[in-house]
Symmetry: C2
Subunit: 334 residues, 2 copies
């Protein structure tokens, strides 16, 4: 009897996932998940002429500009975190709380209908340059413990405005998922004397079955314990804990890897909704997180989290990452 599914463990976070290959989905079965009818007129788009004075504005040569902007960063008008004195943790009966002190910014690229997958490498690099510049500014705020940079594409991924934009949220705590991965990474390094992500990367670039794309400095992998169908992770090939110190050369190659991955996703699966986010070490001057290996995670919205996933934290994926990688490898990235 063929087995119905596999339980796979994420060796960094410790999480289990289920690869339910017995349910027998193939890449083309995911096509119907395409993003339908998420259109908004350019004429009324709030991101065509952002109202707030920008925190940063580059033209398409990467020069600071007031007019011909290609990428702008503005404060979010409806922030989840706001300015204040540094968070003070207080008790409320048996509970613990703090004010939501931090920053919430939007990174907006110029073209209303041209997401990452349709940009050139040079254009995508300017967006990453804006991420890096704001990261470097926000990390200097002494209240900030972690800076989360993420991108929502499509309604199912939580985007309410169609015009391509990313978000930067700077917060006064290290998020639980990051803390867990940091612990997993630290434990592995202590036990094996090497970075867990470097070990994964070495194994994957040799095995090749889960590699989606590679350039000189970055590898795009369908993770062994994928949390969603067609999940991808972009790893720098050289060890490093801190996204924010990426060099100019590497940033352009990261743009190439990110743009290529998203183009493959859009072309191969008819523009599905997705989120991507950067996982990097917390801010701060100590070297305690040097063992970490920063990377980008791309999570397509190919399924709904139901009671089992929400109640257990175990995600069920209906396509094996090996099949997803094989499919995505062959999709032309424009």
């Amino acid at each position: 009897m063929e087995s119905i599914s596999e339980l796979r463990r994420d060796i960094v976070s410790g999480a289990w996932v289920v690869i339910a290959t017995g349910r027998g989905k193939r890449p083309h079965d995911f096509l119907k998940q395409g993003r339908q009818g998420f259109k908004q007129s350019k004429l009324t788009c709030p991101f065509e002429r952002p109202e707030s004075p920008p925190l940063l504005s580059y033209d398409n040569d990467g020069r600071t500009t007031e007019n011909n902007w290609w990428v702008q960063v503005v404060p979010n008008k409806y922030p989840a975190f706001g300015k204040g004195i540094c968070a003070v943790f207080k008790a409320a009966g048996p509970y613990e709380w703090a004010e939501g002190v931090g920053f919430h910014e939007l990174v907006i690229s110029r073209d209303h209908a041209r997401p990452f997958g349709l940009m050139t490498d040079r254009e995508a690099e300017l967006v990453l340059r804006a991420y890096q510049a704001r990261y470097l500014t926000l990390k200097d705020d002494s209240c900030v413990e972690y800076v989360s940079i993420f991108h929502n594409h499509g309604r199912l991924a939580g985007a309410t405005i169609v015009h391509p934009h990313s978000q930067i949220i700077a917060i006064p705590v290290v998020p639980p998922d990051i803390a867990r991965s940091l612990r997993g990474s630290a434990d592995y390094t202590q036990k094996h004397g090497s970075c867990v992500h470097c070990v994964i990367l070495k194994y994957e670039t040799k095995e090749k079955v889960r590699i989606v794309y590679e350039n000189d400095r970055f590898a795009v992998v369908a993770p062994y314990a994928s949390r969603t169908a067609f999940e991808m992770r972009i790893y720098p090939k050289r060890h490093g804990a801190y996204f924010e110190i990426i060099t100019d050369t590497d940033r352009l190659l990261l743009a190439n890897a990110l743009r290529t991955s998203l183009a493959k996703l859009a072309n191969g699966l008819k523009n599905p909704d997705f989120n991507f986010f950067i996982h990097t070490a917390p801010t701060g001057e100590s070297h305690q997180f040097d063992h970490y290996h920063w990377h980008i995670e791309i999570m397509p919205k190919t399924a709904i989290w139901a009671g089992f996933e929400i109640g257990t934290g175990i995600e069920i994926s209906t396509i094996a990452p090996e099949a997803a990688a094989e499919f995505l490898r062959d999709v032309v990235a424009k």
Copy 2:
């Protein structure tokens, strides 16, 4: 300046959530989230006459029956876990995996268009009785480490069949979210000498601001660190780690608390989609989890998990649980 949000910590799981009250949503703003157009004909419904011979079948007096069934349990035709020899954990390069060995069953109630919120207490009790009976059978399988019982209501909650049904999945590992809560519960008991959920319950039933409903044996609470808007937890007032040893009296009062909570949700917010699941101690004969306090969590689908939530594990809720509880307390439960 009023604060934009609050960071609140779940003292059991250690997770942080954001209560973004600064975004200023009120209970009625959630009405538009109502479940639209999820209808399927009774004539073609696969649950009107389940094909598989039932694993269990009760009539509406709770007697085992072959014909006039009110609740039936059948094997899932598309299981995520299947029978096999006990899971053996194997290495694959640096990774770890096991076959997905376990059980996946469906608990189907008779009426095509009558979900929990529209049942009587007696009818809801029969569904809970089926949960308990199957739990007791499945826990005796020596491969089974955890039994997850959950219910998906509506498309956004992951239901693909409209006919009300719950699912039981028995798996060979303790899920990460359960493991985390068990650790949090054990740590609290060791540090403070009392059950963390008993402390919460005592505080909440005294404060009353987050209480939605109470009967003699159960309290329904909007959790202080709610993960979603209008989240509810149903706690047995008396300490106990094991759902499966619930008495007949308590089961009827649990049915009353669950049915009432779901009726309030449906009536107050125009039938939103939701998941609920039971959190209980892992199976096994040892008493190592006696510190735990089993409960039911009800999670309405009032928002989409976007890049921030997926990338950090921090959920942003746009209504305070105090406001949600106040609203739900006043909604008539039929």
